[in-house]
Symmetry: C2
Subunit: 285 residues, 2 copies
């Protein structure tokens, strides 16, 4: 497996793949690879002839008080895992390679970026759309793979690709969880053993909402309250948001009707975690 | 020559060109084709196997009080001219094809868009970068051709292509002028015979500045004053801006040193015209 650091070399690598008539898959990551990322990579390898994984901790998607400096970085370990998953090349550019002096172009999706994580993290999605736009231009993949864990990110990127007529297919892969339900996340390494246990409140509260919907509950306020109470009962947890929107449009709803996204962001100690599920109302009116 | 109205058909056309091993050139226009556009098309045909010209009056680059509705449109005449210049296909989408309901993604270049036309026309360059970004994704040209008449637009698009790592080469073609010096523009059709004569003040004032520089003048304030006075002497003309910046960085300068962009926007009656030249100081200190 190659580790490629320059944009020029990355372009040359994919040109060679095209010349050989091969399809190219891209898995954009910030590294600290876990089973969620590796699932993306394996699916990419199943669907494409040559798979590139990018590992780039993207400074412009972090707020000034967020964990850019502390974000876990371990290229050696990541490389082993990616190679085992079948990845052909890791694209691992420096910040200066991606954002040289004078850089001043940004891609922004309006509307759906102003809710959920967009409200808690102003500028975050502009950072995501800008870097993914660049990665799509550098690698020019046939398919790019993203995890449903970042449900809003997926919707924002789908919007960008559609609006800007980008010639790439976005493939969305379900959330991968630990045996006890915690969604895999690079930020889970921040958790102390006690916090790790407390973090189960995210998936548990989602499950409660799903059970309530299965039992016929359709009132959005009731469902949000159910989740909020469950989280409030965990002393180490602080709610950032618990939101329920129509899916995939993220429109405001009072009652379930068709699909809805239940999404949460919760601080466990100092670590902010997100999780979500799609609720499907069957008997609401 | 084909006239293609849908994005899907446009993509299919270029895929066929690629399959035949042909290079693709793109000339983005808003129609009302004049000799400037046709020069771009002829150069594109000389440099590329297959040339696409887009004709799309892009609503999002016009301000609310600008001439979007009145902008000259004549597809029949434009088609004849483009075909004669060697263009293989015109891409002529509807506004709904380019900006369907729910469209909400914008590409923005910061910094250099805040001067010159960016100051007079807020939102203009975001409209330009967004539509050109879309056109580049739809047509995926090897080379795209733009006129130096829109000097700031060229700098903004170069910035976008570089920052977003777009895989396209921008080719810049010199200003084409009428025999008496007026820069060719689709908006020249708005001018009455009297205004047409008055409009010569733009190129004449640029020429005065060039003569002054050739005679050793290096003081930016003096050069701006020279141009402003020349325009003020023409009763039908109103200055929007007369600006002189370092080129290509558009940095503020007090004295000429190397290349500088002298750019002007002038209203002749109700018609806003722009013109520019590159000044090259040889003996300044």
């Amino acid at each position: 497996m190659l580790i490629i650091e320059s944009i020029a070399d990355m372009r040359q690598f994919v040109r060679q793949a095209w010349a050989a008539g091969k399809t190219v898959g891209l898995v954009p990551t910030m590294g600290a690879l876990h089973e969620g990322h590796l699932t993306l990579m394996r699916q990419a390898c199943a669907a494409c002839d040559v798979v590139v994984a990018s590992i780039f901790v993207n400074p412009i998607q972090f707020g000034p008080k967020e964990d850019f400096a502390a974000y876990p970085r371990d290229l050696a370990s990541d490389s082993e895992k990616a190679a085992a998953a079948g990845v052909a090349a890791i694209f691992h550019p420096s910040v200066a390679e991606m954002y040289p002096t004078g850089f001043s172009t940004y891609v922004r999706v309006e509307g759906i970026t102003e809710k959920l994580c967009g409200r808690s993290r102003p500028g975050h999605f502009q950072g995501v759309t800008t870097v993914v736009n660049k990665l799509f231009h550098i690698v020019q993949p046939d398919k790019a793979f993203f995890g449903q864990k970042d449900a809003q990110q997926v919707l924002v990127l789908q919007r960008m690709v559609q609006d800007l007529n980008m010639d790439v297919s976005l493939e969305v892969v379900p959330i991968v969880r630990e045996a006890d339900g915690l969604a895999k996340s690079s930020r889970n390494v921040y958790l102390s053993p006690e916090e790790r246990q407390a973090a189960l409140v995210l998936s548990r509260s989602l499950a409660k909402a799903q059970q309530a919907v299965a039992a016929g509950e359709c009132d959005v306020a009731v469902l949000r309250e159910l989740v909020t109470e469950e989280i409030a009962a965990q002393p180490l947890a602080t709610v950032d948001y618990v939101e329920l929107y129509g899916y995939p449009g993220l429109e405001d709803i009072d009652r379930l009707s068709g699909r809805a996204l239940l999404a949460l962001a919760v601080k466990i100690g100092r670590t902010r975690l997100i999780d979500n599920c799609i609720l499907e109302a069957k008997a609401c009116f």
